[in-house]
């Protein structure tokens, strides 16, 4: 299986260490390279010890919110008489993000093992991998991996004689960004529209099918075997304080070597662009970066000299998000980017709450009109103002996700909006040239 992009020598390969091995997805390769050792080790640990190890690792949710994983697991009530479920969020849909795909394609057993360890930590015996519908081939790939694991006694009843039972199933989505929101995913897996739920109760207490549920991103589970195997402290040491381990960064946009790279938490963004990504395409200058998927506020070039961990990026008033690093050069029309981002959120708004449903749809219309040269000066403030009327007032974070990049683009690139007021997009010609 050829990789989609050349690895970088700067990578620190923990989760991706098997990428590029022959038959990296097979259970034989997995077993030959420490596979399922962490599960056997965890089997000897108490649930408290497992959770403690994950806490020590400073692993934070890789889906985008960055919530400490160990803490999340500790919220599951031990004494609940209900069955508990381990759900893997493989609904990877945040624009700019394409890492979970690789983890599932090249090392599926690592994810299964991570889920099994989560199962051990809360006495759960059933796991579901919720995969976005577009990733059909991965459902087949994972199905194969799961079948292998069953046939070799790594899933099912009395796994390897340990007395522990665990089943894993896949579940396909059918095209809805909102289902990446964890409670919307729960409604979706229950066969309903993917509408987020009221919180509390949180999924740890009332999750799938009214039962306590651990829900994590693919990359989060994939990190767990290494944490248990080599110790939480070792994992934590790879990153920065409170930001343990490595992260799969997805470089996209105007760099010479776009690709998915595993780098330590806290890796400098400019180095990421220049050294890992091979610098800007066509010798152009960097204009802006969206550091963690399209929901995050944009950073101007001069703001990009920063460590890519949750806290540092937050300090720069953006977010590390999902690891989708979207890089834009000097010829990029930021208004056009704002249009496309808002189109996306308007299309994906589930429609549940008014500010998101109506706000994103209205903003999309204004931005499309504006970019086509039909804008007026008053529109610029209105775009910012309407976005702020969505921010923090919606049922779930999708409204914020639509508002934050928009607000940042209006604030940081107001001149580009103003340049559209004379009836045309000033970047149109440059853009066409850049594509040739």
């Amino acid at each position: 299986m050829p990789l989609y992009n050349e690895p970088s020598p700067l990578e620190v390969k923990v989760l991706t260490k098997r990428f590029g091995l022959p038959n990296s997805a097979s259970i034989d390769t997995y077993l030959a390279t420490d596979g399922y050792r962490a599960f056997m080790k965890a089997r000897e640990m108490t649930p408290e010890q497992i959770i403690e190890e994950v806490k020590v690792s400073n692993l934070r949710g890789r889906g985008g919110a960055g919530f400490p994983t160990g803490m999340k697991w500790s919220f599951v009530p031990r004494t609940s008489p209900k069955p508990k479920y381990i759900i893997c969020n493989a609904d990877e849909s945040e624009p700019g993000t394409c890492k979970d795909r690789l983890l599932m394609e090249f090392d599926p057993h690592q994810i299964i093992e991570g889920m099994m360890i989560a199962g051990l930590s809360v006495d759960s015996h059933k796991g579901y991998i919720y995969i976005r519908g577009e990733y059909r081939y991965l459902i087949e790939d994972l199905g194969k991996a799961i079948a292998e694991a069953y046939s070799r006694g790594w899933l099912g009843r009395n796994i390897q004689g340990t007395g522990f039972d665990f089943d894993v199933y896949t579940h396909t989505g059918a095209g809805a960004y909102e289902c990446g929101e964890e409670t919307a995913l729960l409604d979706s897996i229950e066969g309903k529209r993917g509408i987020p739920r009221l919180k509390p109760p949180f999924p740890a207490v009332v999750g799938a099918w009214q039962s306590p549920t651990i829900l994590n991103n693919v990359e989060t589970y994939a990190a767990v075997p290494a944490i248990i195997r080599d110790g939480g402290a070792a994992f934590a040491a790879l990153g920065t304080p409170k930001n343990g381990g490595t992260r799969l960064f997805c470089l996209s946009g105007h760099v010479n070597k776009p690709g998915v790279y595993e780098l330590p938490m806290g890796f400098n963004l400019l180095r990421m662009i220049n050294e890992v990504g091979g610098g800007m395409r066509n010798g152009k200058k960097l204009k802006a970066v969206i550091p963690g998927g399209s929901s995050c506020p944009v950073l101007k070039a001069e703001e990009c000299d920063l460590a890519m961990d949750f806290d540092t990026v937050a300090k720069a008033k953006s977010m590390l998000g999902s690891g989708g690093v979207i890089i834009m050069d000097e010829d990029t029309c930021m208004v056009r980017c704002a249009v496309r981002i808002m189109k996306f959120y308007a299309h994906e708004s589930c429609g549940w709450c008014i500010p998101c449903r109506e706000g994103t749809s209205w903003l999309k219309k204004i931005l499309v009109r504006f970019h086509s040269g039909q804008g007026e000066a008053a529109d610029i403030d209105m775009i910012g103002d309407l976005s702020k009327s969505i921010l923090g007032r919606t049922f779930c974070a999708l409204g914020d996700a639509a508002a934050m990049p928009t607000i940042s683009i209006v604030e940081k690139f107001r001149d580009e909006f103003e340049a559209h007021l004379n009836g045309t997009c000033p970047f149109e010609q440059k853009h066409e040239l850049a594509l040739v």
Binding site: G191, S211, E348
Partner: protein
Amino acid sequence: MTFSPELETRFAKMLESYPEGRQRSAVVPMLLYAQDEVGEVSQELIEEVAKRCRVTPLQVDEVVGYYSMLHKRPLGKYHVQVCTNISCLLVGGEELFEHACRKLGLGNKEVTGDGLISVEEVECIGACSWAPAILLNYDFHHFVTPEKLDRLIADLERTRKAQ
């Protein structure tokens, strides 16, 4: 309604994979897989899925319109899905979509007269680092240029002639 033996086997396994009494969980996967086989989500299919998952047809219908991949009318045998979201946009995704439309003489979500090819502008498909990207049915194609797309379409059209 019955489906192919393979699909029936898949559905039987699928219904068993959820906790007891939670057959409703199979609604979305069942719709998607059945659509792949029969081409569209018809009223008959909605009622069939409702029966199998023990919900009302309305509860199934609510789901159909919610998920972008489910559609109530047939798309082409080959469905060309061009991503124009931000990462693809930066490297020509929108131009690629326009090119596909022009080439096929189709608008968004339209189907060629013979039902062979349809085209759709889609949201991020998770190929951002290898953009621009398209999905041809469920197959990913990365770093797609207009020329590469032309070749793909020409290949598809050859299957039409072969028929």
